[in-house]
């Protein structure tokens, strides 16, 4: 019985990272209506910025974290301005391909600057492992869960309670109408990307603290998994991303432990297909009415 609990906690550890990344995905998708394939690579950028500020410039942790988040937010805005904004009226596929190109671009830049060798990085989070009976929960996992929860609540409140949040919702519903209502659509979308990328930076920081290793491709796989998590939870829904992420982590862990570690990917994606077939808009997604 103890081992089931242990496996659940393992799943929670990966799941909380997925959830945090999925928050950013879902946010950008919900408002800008685009799958930002480069989101996973912003995590990677965040990880490297943290490394440079902490190890090479020897800045205090708080300053390093602040710089990392700011850097990624600015990067997100810049990418949007250069690559996505000119395509706002283009077919959604064109934007998707551009985002994929952007993902390649960030990865190859990192490869050129830092080369392919992974860099070992000492966690900046020094929370002791918590032991309950026989079961140990690592401090980083607890911090990740807590941060993800805070981010989710803050994001939900921001979107539902603030003026900027309402502007975002309006842009999400109908860009043209929002513009007519006097909302600065460009500014709102920029802000969405800034917040989304800042969340990616936070995810990057927690990712390297959990796994203590940085390489140029580190964002690719978690990025895809988080995307799956966001869809599972209902893309566009903030609590859905959180639930989807945690669920995905737990399913992964349980199927690795009790079914087959070789078929895990098949099982995870199989669950996704089943959920979408039963509930096409994901667990917490709103059922969109087909507009003509």
């Amino acid at each position: 019985m103890g081992s089931v609990l242990e496996q659940l906690i393992n799943g929670l550890g990966t799941g909380s990272i997925y959830a945090l990344i999925a928050l950013g995905y879902t946010m950008v998708y919900g408002i800008a209506k685009m799958i930002n394939f480069a989101h996973g690579d912003i995590i990677m950028v965040g990880a490297y910025v943290l490394y440079v500020t902490v190890v090479q410039f020897k800045l205090p942790v708080i300053a390093a974290v602040a710089i990392t988040i700011t850097f990624c937010a600015v990067l997100g805005i810049t990418i949007e301005k250069i690559a996505y904004k000119p395509l706002r009226k283009a077919p959604s596929l064109a934007v998707l391909i551009t985002a994929i190109g952007m993902s390649f671009l960030l990865q190859s830049l990192a490869l050129l600057i830092f080369n392919a060798n992974p860099i070992a990085f000492k966690s900046i989070i020094n929370v002791k492992t918590v032991k309950i009976g026989d079961i140990a929960v690592s401090g980083v996992t607890l911090v990740t869960l807590l941060v993800t929860l805070i981010c989710m609540i803050a994001l939900s409140l921001f979107i539902s309670k603030t003026k900027a949040g309402s502007a975002m919702r309006a842009v999400s519903e109908d860009k043209a109408a929002a513009q007519l209502m006097g909302i600065n659509v460009n500014k709102t979308i920029s802000m969405t990307f800034a917040i989304g990328s800042a969340l990616a930076a936070v995810a990057g920081i927690l990712f390297v603290c959990q796994y203590q290793s940085i390489k140029p491709t580190l964002g690719a796989l978690p990025g895809i998994k988080a995307f799956v998590a966001a869809v599972l939870g209902g893309i566009g829904s903030v609590p859905g991303a959180m639930i989807g992420g945690v669920l995905l982590g737990v399913i992964e862990s349980i199927s690795k432990a009790y079914i087959s570690s070789e078929l895990t990917d098949a099982i995870v994606f199989g669950v996704l297909v089943l959920v979408l077939l039963v509930k096409p808009s994901g667990l917490l997604g709103k059922n969109r009415i087909e507009k003509v």
């Binding site: 690559a83 077919p91 995307f227 990917d265 297909v273 077939l277 808009s281």
Partner: protein
């Protein structure tokens, strides 16, 4: 898209058909000259087969993505099924080369088509980005299962697959794919498929069997992806599950989008350019991936942000096939 005329004259000896036949034969001689002659060096000669394979992949994906308007990120999955089926056939049958290879092509394509039905069913329920992720999921499920099975050689994959693929086979398959898909999209069925893309509700309300056409498009696309897979396996002589992950699907999708959704000609040109490009950039070594990414983004911006339209209107650029708007939202 381009013409709805044809089809009126069913005689096989119309002027147009003669033209096409002459063109196909001429095209063959050009390819033969390139492959056998001394015009190209070995590197470029070795690209002829991959270019053909990517043309088949892109043209068939264009049927689902361009003409039906459904975003599919699982094309490499069908390709994998075809590749593995075909390879297992030629590895285990002891028949003359041509007979064996024809069986491999037909069975490989057919098994992929059967999986096309499996994936076609969720298509009836899901749209847009949700469908994209489900097709991606199918791709990964297929890859994961191939990696797990014993018969497919697991992670080691299959090796010593006979190298049957050559430019003659590839040319024949490319022509077959283009003719079938071209005729399909210009037929009643094809117009029905495009009608579903342009206006789903209207298409349904005039009595089009939407589900039938959707599944049909997926099955035909899967069939040709399977054939491309068979050619691919018998060109490389080794197959590994890792070669068919979602990145391969994205690669094919990039060709389709760059070539123009719903443009067969565009897919052909883009397949050639994008297979060629990494080879040309090879000289740039470390900067190759970076250049590829920059070129990709630049081409997308150039194509889709209105720069090209303006240039074309002012007469500075010849008009090229265009991205069609995906109106279904």
């Amino acid at each position: 898209m381009q013409n709805i005329k044809s089809n009126k004259n069913h005689s096989a000896f119309t002027k147009k058909n003669l033209f096409i036949t002459a063109g196909i034969i001429l095209g063959f001689f050009v390819v033969m000259l390139l492959a056998e002659g001394s015009l190209l060096n070995r590197q470029y000669k070795s690209l002829i087969v991959p270019i053909g394979i990517y043309i088949i992949l892109a043209v068939s994906l264009n049927l689902t993505t361009g003409f039906l308007g459904e975003l599919s990120l699982g094309h490499a999955g069908f390709m994998a099924i075809g590749a593995y089926t075909g390879a297992l056939i030629t590895l285990n049958l002891n028949m003359p080369e041509v007979a064996e290879f024809i069986i491999a092509l037909i069975v490989g394509g057919s098994i992929a088509a059967i999986f096309g039905v499996l994936i076609g069913v969720p298509v009836l329920r899901l749209k847009g980005d949700y469908l994209a992720i489900v097709t991606l999921a199918f791709n990964e499920i297929i890859r994961s299962i191939i990696n797990f099975l014993g018969i497919t050689g697991g992670a080691m994959g299959l090796s010593k697959i006979p190298r049957y693929t050559n430019y003659v086979w590839v040319y024949a398959m490319v022509v077959l794919t283009i003719i079938i898909i071209y005729n399909l999209v210009n037929s009643r069925h094809g117009r029905a498929i495009s009608a579903i893309r342009d206006n789903y509700v209207a298409a349904e309300s005039i009595g089009l069997k939407v589900s039938k056409y959707k599944v049909m498009a997926f099955v035909i696309a899967a069939f040709f992806a399977g054939i491309a897979g068979v050619l691919y396996g018998h060109n490389l002589s080794v197959l590994k599950p890792a070669d068919f992950d979602y990145n391969k699907s994205i690669e094919i999708l990039v060709i389709v989008v760059l070539g123009g959704m719903g443009s067969i000609r565009g897919s052909i040109i883009a397949a050639a350019i994008l297979t060629f490009l990494p080879e040309v950039l090879r000289a740039a070594d470390d900067f190759r991936m970076l250049l590829y990414a920059v070129v990709l983004i630049a081409m997308m911006l150039f194509n889709s942000s209105g720069i090209r339209t303006r240039l074309e209107e002012s007469g500075k650029l010849p008009k090229l096939p265009k991205l069609t708007r995906n109106k279904a939202k």
